[in-house]
Assembly symmetry: C2
Homo-oligomer: 208 residues x 2
DNA sequence: GTCTATAGAAGGATAGAC
DNA sequence: GTCTATCCTTCTATAGAC
């Protein structure tokens, strides 16, 4: 089943090197700010050789975005309808923060794209993303109906989780500038802070 | 005291038109994605005429960023050390959300700049911004010491407020895509949601 | 102050040798 | 598969007439 187009070992290696370099450059400078030269240099290839593997700059960008989208949404998919509600959501928060810490380039790649109106992945937002979010919001609404978590708007709960966790990747330069020397353990403190934030929001009976 | 360089009425009008057009274009496409032609067209001027008012594309961008920075930080400056603590912070959240709703272009202008490492305003982050944040964090720490709000890390509290409110401007296209038809009243619901989120976090005695 | 025309540089993509 | 050389478009910025 490795049919149609088996890639040689060197092809796989070069494609991977290009995508990794492109992730670096696109996430740091945005689509227009990135140059093919820069990506090729960082991948250790010449520009024409890079364009032997991908037909255009745009094709590299699209390949990156679509290839990483499933990785980026995996944490939400893991939200278990049969788990303990508050802990399930807190685990999701924790996992999203770990993603921001471990994969800040991926976070900034999507941030760049979305801030500028998501010209290349808009269909993914209204399609697969929306369906996944709606599905998980129904789960959360069920928990609320059964009184297992405090009543909140599920969609806006998810927005708050995305915003607070991805902030540490997307706005990292600002976070570090504001914290100064105290920035070193920012993720550890953020983890504790966000656990408290969402724990107090969701624990039923904690507020009227 | 209108000395040194009094601008004629037409100069003021054109400068304002250029800056407004530049805000539109830079916030939508980022620095590199924006073109001087596009800004000139939208401002109703020819490109050379635009460059008669500003020496370069970069100069327009810097003028925008520095000119808007104080506007952008004004809400935090209004945080009153002598006010009622929880209400002061909730008022700040509310004001920031109103800013995101009313001035989404400004929010995205800064988002674009910071996601890409803040090459043009990094000194403002480590300087004035950090000083202002530290000052207000000291106020918040004082409130915590007196038991007026629940103990939280003040810096990360501010990060959470920035993240959750600006999310509705910076990631607007994603918010609308996910909400679909329900997007129309997103700011009203967000307002209620965020008030609850931070109210439950900060109200003392609500949790152990 | 405002325009037309254009210089000069940068970047995406291709030709063609090896 | 990989390179050197180059084409062509786009973009910033300027020259110079009005």
């Amino acid at each position: 089943m490795t049919a149609t187009k088996p890639l040689t070992r060197i092809q796989q290696k070069n494609r991977a090197a290009i995508l990794d370099a492109a992730l670096d450059v696109f996430s740091a400078h945005g689509y227009r700010g990135a140059t093919v030269d820069q990506i090729a240099l960082q991948a250790g290839l010449s520009k024409p050789n890079l364009l032997y593997y991908f037909p255009s700059k745009d094709a590299i960008h699209v390949a990156l975005l679509t290839g990483l989208l499933s990785t980026w949404l995996a944490p939400l998919e893991q939200l278990d309808p049969d788990g303990e509600p508050v802990e399930e959501i807190l685990k999701y928060v924790d996992l999203k923060l770990t993603m921001a810490e471990t994969y800040p380039r991926e976070s900034r790649l999507f941030a760049n794209e979305i801030v500028q109106g998501a010209p290349r992945i808009h269909d993914n937002l209204t399609g697969p993303l929306r369906r996944l979010v709606d599905e998980k919001c129904a789960v959360i609404a069920g928990w609320i109906a059964r009184g297992l978590i405090a009543p909140v708007d599920p969609h806006h709960l998810i927005f708050s989780i995305w915003a607070t966790t991805q902030h540490y990747a997307d706005f990292d330069v600002q976070v570090r500038a504001v914290l100064g020397d105290a920035a070193e353990n920012r993720f550890a403190i953020a983890r504790e802070h966000l656990r408290m934030l969402f724990s107090r929001l969701l624990t039923p009976g904690a507020a009227g």
